[in-house]
């Protein structure tokens, strides 16, 4: 199972994406926890990409690509691809609790709620690949 979704660099696009992702994973029989966690992680990743993108070229025809798939073990893979300048969210310094500046608060969610997350820079694209399977308990 594999699906490619395409989003505009606009915050309202996130909601529509989450609705599709949640519908898709629920229909595939994944647990409420997994659906919730991947939807949440997606919001955090996409907000970062869109905010980071605002600093660059605002061209309206730019898009974010998200590849959604599952493997034989039933793990869900999400790959976010954007053409912003090089930006590895995993290297963003985590904020101390109490530091309310934007950014940083989503990173612990990403690291905790994904089983695996990897960043790479690939021919002009930032590629963030994350994997999440069902968790017991």
């Amino acid at each position: 199972m594999r699906q490619l979704l395409v989003l505009e660099y606009r915050l309202p696009a996130i909601q529509a994406f989450q609705r599709r992702l949640e519908g898709f994973l629920s229909e595939a029989g994944y647990s409420e926890d997994l659906v919730h966690d991947l939807s949440l992680v997606s919001e955090e990743v996409l907000v970062n990409i869109i905010h980071h993108g605002e600093a660059g070229d605002p061209a309206a025809d730019r898009r974010i690509q998200v590849l959604l798939g599952t493997d034989e073990a039933g793990q869900v893979h999400l790959e976010f691809r954007d053409d912003n300048s090089g930006f590895n969210p995993l290297q963003v310094q985590e904020r101390d609790p109490g530091d309310e500046r934007a950014g940083g608060w989503g990173i612990p969610l990403l690291k905790t709620l994904a089983d695996r997350v990897e960043y790479s820079r690939h021919v002009g694209y930032n590629v963030l690949h994350l994997v999440r399977g069902e968790r017991s308990g």
Binding site: L40, P97, E100, G106, P108, L109
Partner: protein, 125 residues
């Protein structure tokens, strides 16, 4: 995929804010705007009831954090009541809201407020 906000005032200085749905990047600005209409001097105790909130993201946690800061700066308190497991988990991961301000039930919160009155202090962290 939206947020509902119901605000109830009582004469004893308590204000109850009931949230339902999702507090996220999309809806956090609505919450911020509604909280700005509250006068923390008239309502030093703000209780945010999270029983019907299904989803919170880091943007939502930041809004709750900001509201709590505004209440504290005015000498008041903002307490969070009955977060659902998925919301509680996000609080636990982000760690921006002290667990002492989060209560699993009304009874637990009342005990905390009683103890606070006995200590005669509004600073309760």
């Amino acid at each position: 995929m939206s947020l509902t906000i119901e605000i109830y005032h009582s004469d004893d200085g308590k204000c109850r804010i009931e949230l339902g749905g999702r507090l996220d990047t999309h809806t956090a600005p609505d919450f911020d705007a509604r909280m700005e209409t509250l006068d923390p001097a008239a309502h030093p105790l703000q209780v945010v009831d999270l029983s019907a909130l299904d989803y919170v993201s880091s943007a939502g946690v930041r809004s709750l954090f900001k509201a709590r800061k505004v209440a504290k700066q005015a000498g008041g308190q903002l307490l969070l009541l009955n977060p659902q497991p998925q919301v509680r988990r996000v609080f636990d991961i982000i760690k921006a809201l002290p667990s002492a301000s989060v209560f699993a039930s009304e009874a637990e919160m009342d005990r905390y407020l009683d103890a606070m009155l006995k200590r005669g202090s509004s600073d309760s962290e």
